[in-house]
Symmetry: C2
């Protein structure tokens, strides 16, 4: 149907025009907003006379298919800006008028349009647009309108709320089907839904938005992940530190956070006459500990780690389950080192990142290097030579770790230094930014951090921030979707549930339970009076890694009939063999 030579993004953009044309056909009074492409598809914002309902989407899709079938041509032309404003005013497209006025402010004299022309040479739809577009609508591949949402005009809560229609579009039906299937699967794995179903966490209005409350099972998983990461860091030469969740405003002024980061910080609170703030980052507190006495090069590198809970303001509208919250725990660390130690430390941090992420079954990594824009050097602090050296070192480290391909974002660095961000693909292929390794040229200078070098003179150390899981809350949110809620045995709150076929096997069940518990496994017995079928369904709903069915044969032979949640296979084993199998499996 579609030409394979057509650029994906161009095709999706054209598809958004076709959707707008269909909407205009359905609602002649519609006022058009904007319609850009996004990952896998596009959207378009509309000001409509009534609220859309899901049933509208198939109607629109039918109209769109009709337009595609007609192979309407995309024709580009330019007009003077003032003429165009008049034109859009006349047809009452006030959002377009506003857009052109902004272009004029930016110095544009002419604006460009794309018009769809049908096979009778008649214009069917025209939109203010820079393009490019496909030649004709026949080149648009299979598509589907996926959802409707509200969106403020220009993202501003004080402007009108428009209705946004999302769609996806692919070169082939197979790709579209696969994508839709993935979306369906993603919906099932939504961590917000699984969080409730599996009793992992809740949010509560009276407590406050974006502040998760971890129920026992969720808190257990969180504890296990934290324990694993923390112990891994200690084994890898990190030392623990621990700092309070609040500090006086003086500290945040000194660190520069009140200047550069106050929008993300919670409002002040008073203690006696002093103003305090919740910490949005742990860094200045670690710096304070470094400063408490003189330091020598012999103490470097220092690697200080803290499971530090920080609070950052997010607008209510962008909060999303665990992946976007207002309070979260970072597996934070600061590495303070000499210039000579820098590369080795970065390399260690990167390898540790990969080890940690691989432990959770992530295998597909995308590296992003964000550096400063030398054309805009006033937006970044620190010496040009330090930036150059740091950026060079980051790239070398990636190369030497086998990452020859990476995204390179000029100007994407934080104001205080360049960084590597690691994105991982989950089991559905969706990418999530998790780990970050960042340079900091700000705090060492601001706080006058020094060490006495081998030469007996004072030097300023380098400081690296790193958070490998990133935010624990976000990480667990991603993990729940990655595992579809079925945590591997080493993380699962209950690793096995024993299901007696009937009450007469309870005693044996309890004996097996005790034996496994003594070996350190987390096991429970189903004491309900349910049928075996119901017991199995309940254990599957709870996504417990192993079900141990126990009946007359098992009692006689000292075995358990093991049903594996992941493989759905069943196998009868001696209790001891099962014990050994799981103990081996949970060794991380």
């Amino acid at each position: 149907m579609s030409s394979p030579k057509v650029d994906l993004d161009t095709m999706r953009h054209s598809c958004s025009h076709v959707m707008a044309q269909a909407v205009l056909d359905m609602f002649p009074e519609v006022k058009l907003g904007i319609g850009p492409t996004i990952e896998n598809g596009f959207y378009y914002d509309f000001d409509l006379p009534r609220t859309l309902i899901p049933e509208d989407l198939p109607i629109l899709e039918k109209k769109m298919k009709h337009i595609v079938k007609q192979s309407q041509k995309f024709k580009k032309y330019e007009e003077p800006a003032d003429e165009s404003i008049k034109f859009f005013k006349k047809i009452k497209q006030n959002y377009k008028v506003e857009l052109i006025k902004d272009l004029v402010k930016d110095g544009e004299k002419k604006v460009s349009f794309y018009e769809n022309i049908d096979n009778q040479g008649k214009g069917t739809f025209v939109d203010l647009c820079k393009g490019p577009h496909v030649e004709h609508t026949g080149q648009i591949g299979p598509f589907k309108l996926t959802s409707i949402a509200g969106a403020y005009w220009r993202g501003d809560e004080k402007r009108p709320m428009l209705q946004r229609i999302y769609g996806v579009c692919f070169p082939t039906q197979k790709e579209l089907d696969e994508h839709l299937e993935m979306l369906e699967e993603a919906k099932k794995r939504d961590h917000r839904r699984l969080g409730i179903d599996l009793e992992l966490f809740i949010f509560d209005n009276e407590v406050g938005a974006g502040l998760p409350l971890w129920l026992p099972k969720g808190a257990f998983v969180r504890h296990k992940i934290m324990e694993f990461a923390f112990n891994t860091y200690l084994k890898n030469g990190y030392d623990p530190v621990c700092t309070p969740h609040i500090a006086s405003a003086d500290l945040w002024a000194h660190s520069g956070h009140l200047d550069f980061y106050s929008d993300e910080m919670y409002g002040p609170m008073m203690i006696d006459e002093d103003e305090y703030r919740l910490k949005p980052m742990n860094c200045p507190l670690h710096v304070k500990m470094y400063l408490h006495r003189n330091r020598s090069y012999r103490e470097l590198p220092m690697r200080w780690t803290e499971m530090g809970t920080v609070y950052r303001y997010e607008r209510g509208g962008v909060l999303h389950g665990l992946t976007r919250v207002r309070g979260f725990t970072q597996d934070d660390a600061h590495i303070i080192c000499t210039p000579g130690q820098l590369k080795d430390e970065l390399s260690r941090a990167l390898n540790l990142t990969l080890y940690i992420l691989k432990t959770f079954g992530f295998e597909d990594f995308e590296m992003n290097v964000s550096v400063r824009d030398p054309e805009n050097s006033e937006k970044f602090i620190g010496e040009a030579k330090d930036w150059k050296m740091a950026e060079k070192t980051l790239k070398e480290v990636l190369h030497e770790s086998g990452f020859k391909d990476y995204e390179y974002d000029i100007g994407g660095a934080v104001f205080y230094g360049p960084k590597i961000d690691v994105k991982v693909a989950d089991s559905l292929g969706r990418k999530w930014q998790l780990s970050t390794i960042q340079f900091d040229f700000n705090l060492p200078t601001r706080f006058g951090m020094k060490y006495i070098g081998e030469d007996g003179k004072e030097h300023t150390p380098f400081m690296i921030h790193r958070a490998l899981l990133g935010s624990l809350e976000r990480f667990i949110g991603v993990l729940i979707e990655h595992y579809a809620g079925a945590f591997p045995a080493w993380l699962a709150p209950a690793q096995a549930r024993i299901l007696p076929v009937s009450d007469q096997f309870l005693k044996y069940s309890e004996k097996v339970c005790e034996e496994l518990k003594e070996a350190g496994l987390r096991v429970e017995v189903d004491y309900s009076s349910d049928t075996l079928g119901k017991k199995i369904r309940n254990a599957e709903m709870a996504k417990i890694p192993y079900m141990l069915v126990v009946g007359e044969k098992e009692v006689k032979e000292g075995t358990v009939a093991v049903r594996d949640y992941a493989t759905k296979k069943q196998e009868v084993m001696k209790v001891d063999a099962f014990k050994k199998k799981v103990l081996k499996e949970v060794e991380v």
Copy 2:
């Protein structure tokens, strides 16, 4: 010297008069404040023409000894209040004038005095005083003036700052000597000093008063203690939960904290239009999780534990190292149970308390039961029958655990329920209140907590709060003094340090270090070029449990010369034998 029949408190009170007499002799212009007895001694507050220096104390002691030797009689008499005011005005004792005016306000018409009379029948010192006193100063036992401090008149920061002299007084010289020795030892063990010397924690003005920053070694000890307690709770049928450090003011209004506890709470902070508060307690957040769905009796008892960091306001003047801070972590738990489960749960909580405390070497416990005052029942919420039952249960549980003697404090209960507080004696015999087990009749009612009973009807569960270490910060402060900074091997940041006699044994040292580390021990090598003597002194200063000296003989025989910090004994062992010994020792 002193009569054994003399009441200790009376004798100490008399000693404070003698001190005032000596001060008056030295500074005739002195204005006298008050001079009560305290544990082991007394103090007296003075308004003096110059600041006291430590060298003043022996001079005063000499004068006091002289007065004691004279066996001056204590003579009591009463005077009309108005006459007394005139008298004190005349001799310019304005603080005494204020005290009498307050007595008059309380309805007193007469006030009593004690006058010291020397052997010529001459009055030497007179003080406004209710008494009682010893018959004569010769009955006062050995004493010592211990320190000078500033103290606001009547504890009010807006009134003048007086100078307070502290003294101790005992029936016998032996008891005084022992006490002074204990004070000397306590000074050496002061956790604020050891905290700095051993690099455990710091406080920082820019961060804020009462907010400890845990340096690596302190953070490690803190982590180990937390890990031990947390794992112990999980093994004992507790489930973990985890909640944020802030919640909206709505929650704290609902829980009653804004009514009953706001003085201890940090000021409000705004998020969008909503007011938030730092949590002073974890309870309402746990209650919220209980409420998120219907509960059945089958789920009870529920035991939810959280290492919850809370923030409570304390006046700057009362902050003291780790034992009185503004932010601390509780090893908190809430047990929610049916009436039938109550006694067993309290008994389990008490036994767990003893197990936890004994693990840290505490052996001497004092139980305190605090109940409501039935005469003042309006100060306590909940039904009389519930209080009665709860108090009875607490006492029964103590009895059955072998605590027949306990302090009983009528009216000392918290407003929401009776409690058991556990005080422990440290290695110097000083008592510290650590653990608490409390009933809560407030929250279950306020939040409408319910469960469906076996009868199919709704019931209100009982709720028990308990914190066994209490505040981790306070606990570690006590522990540092209890251990004099020498942590037992299971808690020590470094368990052993290898001291090569010279550099040629470094290779063997490293091999031993690796072997021990692989077994999970925390070992380091002294790489310095110091002499062996200096290396030993450094390891002793760092209070490392084991020093492993390594020289030619040890290399040849595959041994280490183990010096035990605690016993100061030295013993040569095979590396493997040392490994086994320590591994056995650190099993908690």
